[in-house]
Subunit: 377 residues, 4 copies
């Protein structure tokens, strides 16, 4: 009998490929983790699905999501579909006791995320939300430095996620650009990454004040380019944050930010130091620590290497660098270890809910012009 | 008879020296401008004042501010005293028809700034507020690029001014750290530079939402270090901005920002490009412009050179770089040209008032948790 | 019958793992390429070999190199052993008609490399030498820009490879530190990467003038740390280069370069532009092109994305970044495509010989203090 | 009687303006130094000379160099003319006991420089050669760190000076482009800056191996643009260096280096650390020091501030930055202090000779293809 843990994947797009590559690479990269088999693949287009399945050696494939649910050999369901499908699929999988690895954002709103988190807890299954930027050695080092007091008490967080993939007004109105299918705009899609990092590195967010803008109010219908459809989600958002531990913060995001390709950045200031990070240079971090002669003070640019979390599993030599896909491999390892050991996984659906609450609080604050507490949603 | 314009300077500190150096260098750097003579110097300590006056060849010096006011050969009064003295000194100077060059922030609050702006307009004298970071070739180029449509319509401004000169809790509670003498904290002192840039590059600010924090609530008494005195101004501040032209923005500032020395930065995003700037690298600007083949897209790092505003007056060769003190020389040239030609100077006291209104609006918003319009103050 | 191409790998160290991961990932990343099976693994330690084989799902493993040679299901032999073993192993594999994928440098000297290149040509097998830094999208873009005249005629090449992995004098004298086992020092190990890039981007090298230094003349015996053994290879090397096309160049390398982790850099200047690259930031390239208004001149920092060679096969979104291991996946694709199509592969053993000649010419020049032509060796 | 030291300046170009500004600013910046008066100005064009003299308040001006020599109130002669005039002017000034401040390079060749150095020593006057890049706080810090053992023993120096001001083949053949008037090409003009830094930071150069190229062999006659004149100096040069203390090194220079504006850079590697510098970012230095936990290793970017040499005399606040002209002010202070105190000045004409010998040794080596000792010239 095959002792390997069966994985069912739904979705063959950008994230589908990332998941499949990661499940394939995880065992060799992290020899101690669970062994997996790519058991089943599901997507809507039969030809695409078959080609993808063959490339990755999936054992079976089809266009029916239920096939995953009904397959007793699938223990883990990995969901990489558009946002509006996450909730229904995850609930179906958890209802039959499968572990769920779901792309972010978790649901269309906090209520949906709550339903999912509560279902996961009732079902007693393991869950993981794909906030993959938490996985880099650089973020891991930042967390270690902060936790060990290396920059003193955190007093300010400045986070942003800027990209420009929708800066062209001729980009069609796909599912990402309506509230009904995406739940939100840049704020939910990208701003949620900032929230995931803020939470991971600084702690819980107590109160927010937000502003959102829809700059390009209409875009071409993807099926009929001559026709224009309204956009009802934000293109840009900004927020002031108050953390539970007293730190202040800001969050900004935009998918119209010309020139920025993967501009997820943070600057964390503590009472004795500071840390700067830019995902476009994901293999380095900038660290300032006071002390010592002032004439030698400066931000250190630390290149990732085998002394940093997980790096050595990819490469024994420093400075060689991980890539984006490697982050997914680390994420899959976290999932598999949690399943194997029955230990908590972060961020699980409960954490995904907390992130969703912050996003929704910013949306509400933007609408009402007042400070809003995420935990009230 | 000496045809040169007489300058009276009050203050021999950091800014006093900058002013004196700039008045000394301006003629050789900008041969067409007014010639000046350093007529009188005033400060409180007689020995310091004399040494400073001798170093700069001031004709006369004393410890009595009135001496400046009463000297008919002083046409320009340059004020570099602590904030709480600006208003009284400027009003006295303008009352006898002298032009006033005043360090920022203009006054302790918007009301004070209004009094000064109105007095200037009544007196018909020229005024200039020392927001020197507006003077760099890089900021000049940014403005030209934006005005000529080089990045399309501005949709977002992200500005910050971070330093760490008060990060040490053992730093004494000087005049900068009480509202009565400074008018505000980091927000007024440094955040006002961000506002000056936002206004210069993007336009008027219609509405703000702010937050402020006093992180180090007590500091040693400068006269009795064993004793601790309360701090009633902000150490950090953040704000959301709405510009008159519809752009959104953020502003952040802190004098506790470990590792940042002159961290005045902005990122301006337009519909067709973006500009990034960092005062710590004041001789370069980063510019993204769409168009052309996508595989060659990227931010250009443009080094300042003789093709950029005022640079050629300092040096005919690109990349050699100006320094901070050179910005003051350019500022003094703006003052002298305005006086010579009777043309508007920017930022004058009216502009200083508008900046003060934005700062006060952020303070009020932080206190009341609501959006505030600067023009309502 | 299994239609997949059988791979035999010798070596389970740093490069062994890279090869295995790459063979595993190549099919999903590049669906059109040959399918491979990890048929056999060989290394000296049985336990390590078994664990490695199980992690990567090798079908068979042993400690006898001949097992690879004798296995009719092995079509490709991948050699990742210390340098002194390359020649013997490759010759044995080619003698029975197997394709060979060999780590760099090819042999201990130019004579050995010539033997290998000639054997490959006689055997009619495909060969590839693992100069993996040629594979990055950034280097690919640099080559495209240069070939298409984007920087005019190349007039200067400045290349270096600096690391610090042997900067500690307490590092033991391993096989890398004797001429008998390594063939050379930093020059052969790392300088050869610079030569591979120079050749790839600028063209053939006609003449060299070199200098080499052994800074740490003795190091601890790895088996008996109290004892010290002499080092007879270079720790640092520098060379002046003359290219066939008339360009001048320099090459520098060191494994004592404190602070540099993967400091493989080049600066290529042409008559109309320039390109700068640093492997520590392998996902970006800096490009200067003249033309247009001089006030907007500057180096562009181009982030790699799907418009650049091979990037899209890993990720559809720009700026996300590849990692070091991904370069090996691209390298394996080049090998498999060449085998499938019977087309030339670059760099093959003939190219490996040419690189070895340049290295040996620098060594000879350093010894004799005169310019040396690589093609005379 | 005027107690101030009289300065006579010859030349009103780029360097003439720098000198004049520096003499004007030095007293206020460095209050303890000698006071100076701008006594006389000389240049060939009467109108230009007068305008310049008026802008800087020179007391007298003319177009006759002898006027400087004959003026008993001129104690310091500052020479900023084209290279071929340095020797004759300096000799004339020293012959009548005047101190000489001469722009670099000192003479057309080592023989000329020797004549000047010996004349200075015979006359007992003070001399200074204008290698202004030695004056920056960053270079000062680098020197302090190296001298105090902060990077261990220096084992490698990598220096370059790249600019692109002659990259355009249409740039006319001015005095810089003939050996008779300039003494050399990029090597003498810019490479000499690299030598000055190498000497200042690492020590004496024992032997060199060089290569030079004239890439653009003809350029338009400045007086008759349709006509083309030959260029007999190098456009690019490279050299290998051996220092007296055993360190190795490289030097590169070019005035065809597209995109580089003030690209004077060095990388100095020691046994325990390394220092990187780029004059285009003259207000920062990058320092690596081993020790401490390896996971926090990295290059520190140190921003110049009042803890670094001379910075505090310009500005009390860190990170504000000096500009190029400020370097000349520091240089003039060194000259005046040396005159006041009768102490050695570095680099004086003797040092200028040593730099000239290195340059000439590289030229000779390039011609003869062999290592050459500078001290043999």
């Amino acid at each position: 009998m095959d002792q390997r843990t069966g994985v069912g994947l739904v979705g063959t797009g950008f994230m589908g490929k990332c998941h499949a590559l990661a499940f394939q690479a995880v065992r060799a990269t992290f020899p101690d983790t669970l062994r997996v088999r790519l058991r089943r693949l599901v997507d809507v287009d039969p030809a695409v699905t078959e080609a993808f399945a063959r490339a990755f050696d999936f054992e079976r494939w089809s266009t029916r999501f239920e096939d995953l649910i009904e397959d007793p050999d699938v223990l883990i369901v990995a969901i990489t579909t558009p946002n509006f499908l996450h909730q229904e699929m995850a609930l179906a999988a958890m209802a039959v006791g499968k572990h769920v690895y779901c792309e972010k954002p978790l649901a269309l709103d906090a209520a949906g995320a709550r339903t999912m988190a509560e279902a996961a807890e009732r079902a007693g299954v393991k869950t993981l939300v794909g906030y993959n930027y938490l996985r880099s050695p650089a973020v891991g080092l930042a967390r270690e430095v902060i936790r060990s007091g290396g920059i003193g008490d955190v007093i300010h967080f400045r986070g942003a996620h800027f990209e420009d993939f929708l800066a062209d007004p001729a980009a069609p109105r796909t599912w990402r650009l309506t509230r009904a299918t995406a739940g939100g705009g840049a704020l939910g899609d990208m701003g949620s990454h900032v929230v995931s990092l803020a939470r991971h590195l600084v702690g819980g967010i107590e109160e927010v004040m937000g502003a959102t803008q829809t700059v390009i109010a209409e875009r071409p219908d993807p099926r009929e380019p001559g026709r224009r459809l309204p956009v009802d989600v934000d293109d840009q958002a900004q927020a002031l944050l108050r953390f539970e531990n007293g730190a202040s913060g800001t969050l900004e995001t935009s998918w119209l930010a010309q020139g920025r390709k993967m501009g997820l950045t943070f600057e964390i200031t503590g009472t004795r130091g500071a840390i700067l990070f830019d995902q476009e240079r994901m293999n380095e971090i900038r660290l300032f620590q006071g002390g010592g002669p002032r004439r030698l003070h400066g931000f250190k640019t630390i290149l990732m290497g085998p002394d940093h979390p997980h790096y050595a599993c990819f490469c024994p030599a420093p400075g060689h660098g991980l890539g984006f896909n490697d982050l997914k491999t680390i994420e899959v390892k976290a999932l598999l270890d949690g399943i194997r050991d029955g230990t908590p996984i972060d961020p699980d659906f409960r954490a995904g809910l907390e992130i969703a609450q912050v996003i929704e609080a910013i949306q509400l604050s933007a609408a009402e012009g007042r400070w809003v507490r995420p935990d009230a949603l």
